[in-house]
Structures are given as structure tokens and as C-alpha cells.
Amino acid sequence: MKFIEIKHCYKLYKDGNAAISDLSLFVDKGEFVFITGETACGKSTLVKMLYREEKPSKGTVIVGGINVAKVPNSKVYKLRRKLGIVFQDFKLLPKLTVYENVAYPLAMAGVSNSTIRKKVRLALERVGLKEKEKSFPKKLSGGEQQRVCIARAIVNEPKLLICDEPTGNLDPKTSKEIVKVINKINKEMKTTVVMVTHDKEIVNSMRKRVITLSNGVIVDDTQKGSYVADEID
């Protein structure tokens, strides 16, 4: 069953440059997909279209049955509540504790305190940060901050987890730990994972589906693939 359907999608910028060109892509429910490619090949633009931070200039992007491009600006938040997003720069609120950061999307959606407590504790347990719930982000290491970001992304139990270069700011050892956490979520929660990365080691060690982009076009799409972006001109 397809969870993401991208059909003949284009993303053109005002200066005429195309970030994405006639791209079609299907991702099954529960799949783990790496999106790789050289810098400025359109990887981030592609995932930004999934959570409607970018709108396709042409074509359709369907996520979990929702035609993302047709969602009005005022209703985008409803789509994002169904997704989990992990960023390279963590995007944590520095003046809130770990618990408050993870609880934030639920609290602002009006969820009851008891449900929040249950869900936040479970999410923190899944990422192995149960003991740090009272800490502030500044007191945490890069890897721990990224785990908080993952916990916040999965607290709503989303069907899709979008990870935009989640290991970009981390050392190789911590990067592996983070990918392990994401892989665990994919397996235990059956969450579809789309992860943008240019970390060759991680891609090669995971043996998952690898989609390689170049100049906004898919140049390679292999199940149990490896990192081939280096080999493409």
C-alpha cells in the first residue's frame, strides 16, 4: 500500500531554476527510504514538499491520502500534526525543558495533561532519554538534542517520519546511534521513514531502499541499495 505518491512533480524557483524536475516516486507504508545526492540536488526541497514547507510548481504530492499541494496555508498545521519531522539543527525551544519540548505539540493541540504525560514518557523512553526530561537543551550533547527532536517528532505517533539530514551535525559514532533509534521506530511503530542524508557509511550499513537525486531528477532507486551519489556525474 502506497503512503507517498509523487507524480510528475516540478519545483521551479522565481529565477527559473528547477530544484525538482518531472519527479515521480512512490513509497510504501512502513518503508524506510534514504534520499541521497550531492549538495543542491533537490533532496531537501523534495522532503519539504512532503510537509508542505514548499509547494510543487506542477504535479501532485500525496501523503497518506492527502493532496499536500491543495492544503490551504491555514490548514497546513493539520497535515503536520500527522507527520513527524526531524531537522539537522534540532530546532528545539531553548527555554523549555526536554519534557516541555516533547510535550509542546500536544499541549498546543489541547491534549489533556494525563495523556501528554503518558505519551511524552513513552516517546522519551523510545529514544532513551527518560532520565533527562528535566534538562534544558543547552545542557545536552548534540546526539541527545537530536534524540529530543526525534521524541518530539514521534510523540503524536505519526505515520510518516521525515528526517532532513538528522546526522549532519553529529560525529560518526553518535550518527550511528541516531540512525539506530530511527530504525527502531520504523520497526516497532511501523512508521514510514524518509531520511535525507549524505552520510555514505550510514547508507551502506543499513541496506535499505536508496533513492539518489541529481539536478532534481531521480538517477537511481535501489532496494537494499548503497550510496552511489559519488559515482554519478
Partner: protein
């Protein structure tokens, strides 16, 4: 239930945020306090000037002398005709019969003077003095026209009013009133601009926070809510010192100066309820500008 929960959580967040962003909150608070203080001084000064000019125009009256042989019915008719003139303050028409005019003349005259001696020999109801109407007008600019209309009433022998004073004073009062309105509007515009810009800067410093809120699926309304509540709270808090200065400062000044400024003809407005109204204006400006300023400033960072 959900909405109530969201509102109270944001209310709590707004209070927490004031303390968590204490330097930004202080900057915003200080700016609001200073600008509202200037507005308070502006309102007090201009309102006192306005009150002085209003009192001057109020004191402009027309005295209409009535034929001394007029019967009570005729007096009543004259009063009705005066009342029917549009510019006349109908509830402030004063009629003085010959007896009252005689008594007042005696009061004003020095005892033992020729006038006093002569007038005191006259009878109360049968004396050569003319009964009179004292008439106040609504608009001092139309004083001359009103005086003409009154003089045309049958049995009104003559009218008297400060024609020259009125001619010279009316344009001056007009200019003073216009200038004071311009000053107040100008001060409010400057306040809105200054407080608004401070809020813009404080929200710019928190634009990343807004971006995170958007990305984790929070609606635009809920994103705005803590900022708008915070802006309103800071606006209200910023008006506290100017309000205190208005109430106590003005009252102390009033008491020390005995309610008179420079000359006995320039009377200050009594502190109550004037300072209360001024305080309400300051509170409203602080709250509304804080609320609207935050709403507009956050809008910039939302994709709406």
C-alpha cells in the same frame, strides 16, 4: 474543553515567557512606560488648556433687557422665544425681575454712594430698572447672530454682550483646541509607532520559536495567542507607572498649587474624575497597542 485548555496553557506560557525573555520584556516594558508617560503629560496639559478655553467660552453671556412695563405673560412669551433659538442653552436662561436687579445693584454699589442712596429709595416692584434675561450660548462663534435674534424679540429693548472680546477670542480658542487635538493624536501615533516597533524587534528575536511552532503543527491562531497575551500584559504593565504618576502626581500638583495655575483665572481641572479617565485612556492605549502590535508582528513570520 480543548479550547479552554489551549487558552489557559497559553496564558501560563505568556507569563512564563515574560520572565524567560526578561531582557526583551524589560525593553518592551520600558518603551511602553516612557511613551505612555509622555502621553499622560500631553493629555493632562492639553486637557487643562482645553478646559480653560471651554470655561472662557462658557462665561460669554448675552444680557437681554426687557421693557419694564412687560406683564408676566409677556415675560413668559419672551422666555419661550429665547428658548426656541437654536444656539441658546435653554436650561441656563436666568430671569431677573426688577426687584432682583435692584437688590443686585445695591449689593454691587458702595454703601453711602450716590447710586446706593438713589436706588435704595426706589420701590421693589416699581422702579425704573429693567428686568433682564441672562442667556448663555452653546457655540460662541454664533454669539453675534444669537444676540441679533434676541434683540428682534418684541418687548426686548436692548441686548448687551462682549462683542469685541468674543471676536478676538473665538479664533484663538479655535486654534488652541485644534492644536491640542493634533498634539493628542500625534502622541498616540508616536506611541503606537514606538511600542509597535519595540514589539516587532522582540518578536524578530523570537522568530525561530515561531518557525518551530509552525513546523511541529501548531495552528497560526495558537501560535499568535501567547504573543498577543504577552503583548497585552506588557502593555497593561507598562501603563502602571504613568497611571500612578497621573493619579498621585496630578493630585499633589493640584493640592500644592491650590487648583490654580499662574493666575486665578486659570483653574486646573479637579483631579477626580479627570485622572481616572486619563488613566483609563493610558490603560486602553497600552493594552490595545500591545495586543495589536504583537498580532501584526507575529503575522510577518506566519505563512497566512
Amino acid at each position: 474543553m480543548k479550547l479552554i485548555r489551549i487558552f489557559f496553557r497559553n496564558l501560563a506560557n505568556a507569563f512564563k515567557s515574560i520572565f524567560r525573555n526578561i531582557s526583551l520584556s524589560s525593553a518592551s516594558l520600558l518603551c511602553t512606560t516612557i511613551t505612555l508617560f509622555i502621553v499622560a503629560v500631553g493629555v493632562i496639559v492639553t486637557e487643562n488648556i482645553n478646559d480653560f478655553t471651554r470655561n472662557l467660552t462658557k462665561s460669554l453671556s448675552i444680557v437681554a433687557f426687557v421693557d419694564s412695563g412687560s406683564s408676566n405673560e409677556e415675560i413668559e412669551r419672551i422666555k419661550n422665544e429665547i428658548s426656541s433659538i437654536e444656539n441658546v442653552k435653554t436650561d441656563e436662561i436666568i430671569y431677573k425681575d426688577r426687584k432682583t436687579v435692584k437688590e443686585e445693584t445695591l449689593e454691587k454699589a458702595e454703601k453711602g454712594s450716590t447710586i446706593y442712596t438713589i436706588v435704595s429709595t426706589w420701590e421693589d416692584d416699581n422702579n425704573p430698572l429693567q428686568p433682564e434675561f441672562i442667556i448663555y450660548v452653546k457655540d460662541s462663534k454664533k454669539l453675534e447672530k444669537t444676540a441679533d435674534d434676541i434683540s428682534n424679540i418684541d418687548k426686548v429693548k436692548s441686548v448687551k454682550y462682549a462683542k469685541e472680546v468674543n471676536k478676538q477670542m473665538t479664533p484663538v480658542i479655535d486654534i488652541i483646541q485644534k492644536i491640542s487635538i493634533i498634539i493628542i493624536i500625534g502622541l498616540i501615533v508616536v506611541t503606537v509607532f514606538l511600542i509597535g516597533n519595540t514589539i516587532k524587534l522582540t518578536i524578530y528575536a523570537r522568530s525561530e520559536e515561531i518557525e518551530i511552532m509552525r513546523l511541529v503543527g501548531i495552528s497560526n491562531t495558537v501560535i499568535r495567542l501567547p504573543f498577543v497575551i504577552e503583548g497585552t500584559i506588557l502593555g497593561f504593565l507598562g501603563s502602571i507607572i504613568p497611571i500612578a504618576v497621573t493619579i498621585w502626581g496630578y493630585t499633589i500638583c493640584y493640592d500644592k498649587l491650590g487648583g490654580i495655575l499662574f493666575s486665578p483665572i486659570i483653574k486646573m481641572i479637579e483631579p477626580m474624575p479627570f485622572t481616572l479617565y486619563t488613566s483609563l485612556i493610558l490603560l486602553a492605549i497600552g493594552g490595545v497597542v500591545g495586543m495589536a502590535g504583537s498580532y501584526m508582528a507575529v503575522r510577518r513570520y506566519l505563512k497566512v
